[in-house]
């Protein structure tokens, strides 16, 4: 769909600053742009991000709204509302909006607002970048709709709107619509393979550009963060899984030097690749040896690209803990020997004069406290016990 509506043009000679805008041509994205907002008042920026999603093949639409608002440099407020609805959903897409983009959005919220006075504009230039980002996870081919909203109290027609994929300017497939004080622009793309994945950005304005970015990515794979410790001769199972995704295929690679070598290509007994569910894969390695140590990568292949995770394997030989164990055993044996020798030595010393010394501690206590011999005593005494 192509529509170019209401392209902001240098229409209002009364806004001298807007003369600085030139029409959309190849434009290098300059984030430290010059201000293009309305002159008199400094506009605080307010942002809204709304996302609507609906799918027929599967159509997803995502909105970023970028708003310029008056006066002092206000921290930007963001609202994010998501609405999802599907008519013919063939599959369910979970757009994982992680906290990360939120924070990044907050970063971009530090809008240093244009004070509107020409003199000051130069001063505030370096603060005028404004970036809002959103990560979108795509697994299957879909129609994707990206919408940016721009709110300003100035003249909407004078605001220049462009779309870029990465650094490449996009010429068509987007429409611009102005309603009241909100400027909408929407970009549609049909994502079929990995070529259409990437970062799409909408730009408002010329010099002082407000930018919103959509990052289209394949789902992430979780391997394991901590290394797995195993021993020579053991077998181990390495697992990779992704949250809610169904890859077409899984492959495993081991790293040899800096080259990834596929595993299991000549099918042998040592490696068994299997997976209980589609969203996980496991690699079972038997008869581990120290050569098997290292990092293993699992690749998940989607129609729209590849994603990978990694697991680190450490193979120790039995000698490693055995050394520690041996050290402890040696220490124990040493201590026991010392103690027993010391005891024999002091007893030999005691022998000649053992009368008085036997009753050192709580003398009466020790008298017939020897462990086995006098036990018959209390038993006998018990026989006479009157009872309690």
């Amino acid at each position: 769909m192509r529509a170019l509506q209401g392209l902001p043009g240098p229409r209002a000679p009364s806004l001298p600053l807007l003369l600085l805008c030139f029409l959309a041509a190849v434009r290098r994205s300059v984030e430290h742009g010059l201000s293009t907002a309305a002159p008199f008042t400094s506009l605080p920026v307010q942002e809204e991000i709304t996302m609507t999603k609906y799918s027929n093949l599967s159509l997803e639409s995502h909105n970023i709204s970028v708003t310029a608002a008056p006066f002092t440099s206000l921290p930007v407020q963001e609202e994010i509302t998501t609405t999802k609805y599907s008519n013919l959903s063939l599959e369910s897409h979970n757009i994982s909006m992680t906290a990360m983009p939120m924070k990044e959005n907050n970063k971009g919220n530090q809008i240093c607002v244009d004070r509107g006075i020409m003199l000051q504009r130069n001063v505030t230039l370096e603060h005028s970048n404004m970036t809002v980002e959103k990560n979108i996870t795509l697994e299957r081919p879909s129609n994707v709709e990206l919408t940016c909203q721009f709110t300003t109290s100035g003249d909407l027609n004078s605001v220049n709107v462009t779309w870029k994929k990465g650094d490449t300017l996009l010429e068509d497939n987007y429409l611009v619509n102005a309603t009241g004080s909100i400027l909408y622009t929407q970009y549609r793309v049909t994502v079929i393979d990995s070529k259409q994945m990437g970062s799409y950005s909408c730009f408002f304005g010329e010099k002082k550009q407000q930018k919103g970015t959509f990052n289209l990515k394949v789902p992430e794979i979780n391997g394991k963060n901590k290394p797995l410790i195993t021993y020579v001769g053991d077998s181990v199972v390495l697992m990779c899984k992704c949250q809610d995704c169904l890859p077409l295929n899984w492959t495993w690679y081991s790293v040899n030097g800096s080259v990834q070598v596929p595993i299991g290509v000549p099918v042998n007994d040592k490696y068994v690749i299997s997976g209980k569910h589609a969203n996980e894969t496991s690699l079972k390695i038997m008869q581990l040896s120290e050569d098997d140590q290292g990092t293993y990568w699992c690749h998940a292949i989607f129609e729209l690209g590849e994603s990978e995770g990694h697991v680190e394997l450490v193979v120790l030989s039995y000698l490693v803990p055995l050394k520690a164990f041996g050290a402890i055993v040696a220490e124990v044996v040493l201590l026991v020997t010392i103690i027993l020798l010391f005891e024999m030595y002091t007893q030999k010393k005691k022998k000649p004069s053992d009368d008085g010394k036997e009753f050192e501690q709580g003398e009466e206590l020790k008298l017939d406290d020897s462990n086995g011999i006098e036990n018959s005593g209390p038993r006998h005494r018990k026989n006479e016990s009157v009872g309690q």
């Binding site: 055995l322 709580g362 462990n371 006479e384 016990s385 009872g387």
Partner: protein
């Protein structure tokens, strides 16, 4: 995971179950050999666990062998404290019991480190080696009196013991033969029965709050690490509480009334649990953990001291064997029942209230029981003083340490002419 919990759960009875076995062995062979064998068994169990390939083997090695070894360590260690010390026995008991929280707090991060460096196999092996240090502890347990010296010149008392024993008929009934090894006649001992019953009630609600502290904190919305930190706080306070409470228990004021002190310590712990549901945020939970550590420590430190106090060092080894085997039921049943209560009501606070109520009930029972016991003992002692005046008294008997109070001993000990340290203990 459930299987693992089962293994650990089954290990506990194997630690306390073989109590009577080790009591018998201690009675026969003394503390030192039993502890050294126990240490070797523990090490063997752990090392063979590291080579196990399935859960059953793990159960056999860690559960059975290791549990047996640990039981062989527990009994003699407690017994030997009673044999070495008298005047400062409460302090000694407190210090001896202080070992557990020290290792509880250090072993958790240490285990993590071992696991990350050596994997589980290596960790088991190294832990087995560490358990071998029990043998060092056993080597230190010098037999109180080497057998040779009984033939050497002794003070009067022992000679009289021998001579009086010879006068008795040599024939022993079956029951007496059994009692030689394991003193079942303790079940006729009033103080012992009060202690046992009170403890059984107490242990029903004693361990569950410890086990559920971290889940309770997580349930309140506290993150994992802070919740685990609560346990560390408790262990840390426990570490210092045990010896200090031992010191307090040793004082002239408390020691004669150490049974009351024990009941009050139990009551303090119970009240802590009852007040726990009031703790809503993290700070108040930390305060609860501190007080709980205090309570737990004070109960643990005088737990065996009171038993020694009641039955005397001589019969202590059998007593502790019997006590542990009977107590193993409530210890096992308590946490699962508490867990069931949590599942049924959906809230932890009822579990804490129930545990607190049970523990307070146990303390009241102990208090009343011991009050009665003390009265009866005082009465018996008065009776004995009258009868004793007509008998000769050995000098040794009268030379009691000042800390020992004047309350009477068990009837039987005064009747006999033998000098026996147990009589002094039962005096209290």
């Amino acid at each position: 995971m459930a299987l693992l919990a089962n293994i650990l759960a089954w290990e506990i009875p194997w630690t306390v179950g073989p109590g009577p076995i080790s009591s018998v062995l201690v009675n026969k062979y003394g503390s030192r050999p039993v502890v050294m064998v126990g240490g070797l068994l523990c090490c063997l169990g752990m090392v063979s666990a590291s080579y196990s390939t399935n859960v059953v083997e793990l159960y056999l090695t860690m559960g059975f062998i290791c549990g047996l070894g640990l039981a062989f360590n527990l009994q003699p260690a407690l017994t030997i404290v009673g044999k070495y010390f008298y005047k400062k026995r409460p302090v000694a008991n407190g210090l001896a019991m202080a070992g557990s929280p020290v290792f509880l707090s250090t072993l958790a991060p240490f285990n993590q480190f071992l696991f990350n460096t050596y994997g589980w196999k290596g960790s088991f092996m190294i832990l087995g080696g560490l358990l071998l240090n029990c043998c060092v502890a056993g080597a230190l347990m010098r037999p109180v009196e080497p057998k040779a010296s009984t033939e050497s010149k002794n003070k009067v008392g022992v000679r009289e013991t021998d001579s009086s024993m010879e006068k008795r008929p040599k024939k022993l009934s079956i029951w007496e033969k059994i009692n030689k090894y394991l003193d079942f006649s303790l079940f006729k001992h009033r103080g012992f029965l009060i202690y046992l019953s009170g403890n059984v009630i107490m242990f029903l609600g004693f361990f569950a709050p410890v086990i559920f502290l971290a889940p309770y904190a997580k349930d309140k919305g506290i993150d994992e690490y802070s919740a685990a930190f609560l346990l560390s706080v408790m262990a840390f306070v426990d570490m210092f509480a045990r010896p200090s409470v031992g010191l307090i228990a040793n004082s002239k004021l408390i020691r004669p009334r150490i049974q009351y002190f024990f009941s009050f310590a139990v009551m303090f712990t119970g009240i802590c649990h009852l007040l726990c549901p009031l703790a809503e945020d993290y700070t108040s939970l930390v305060v609860y953990a501190v007080f709980f550590g205090l309570g737990f420590g004070s109960v643990s430190s005088v737990l065996f001291e009171t038993l020694m106090d009641l039955v005397g060092a001589q019969r202590f080894s059998s007593a502790v064997g019997l006590v542990t085997v009977v107590e193993c039921c409530p210890v096992l049943l308590g946490p699962p029942l508490a867990g069931k209560l949590v599942d049924e009501t959906g809230q932890y606070k009822y579990m804490y209230l129930a545990c607190g109520a049970i523990v307070v009930l146990a303390s009241v029972w102990l208090l009343i029981g011991n009050a009665i016991n003390y009265r009866l003992l005082a009465r018996e002692k008065k009776k004995n003083i009258h009868t004793k005046e007509s008998q000769e008294t050995e000098p040794l008997k009268t030379s009691q340490s000042p800390n020992v109070n004047i309350k009477s001993g068990e009837t039987e000990t005064w009747k006999g002419t033998e000098v026996n340290p147990s009589e002094r203990e039962t005096n209290i």
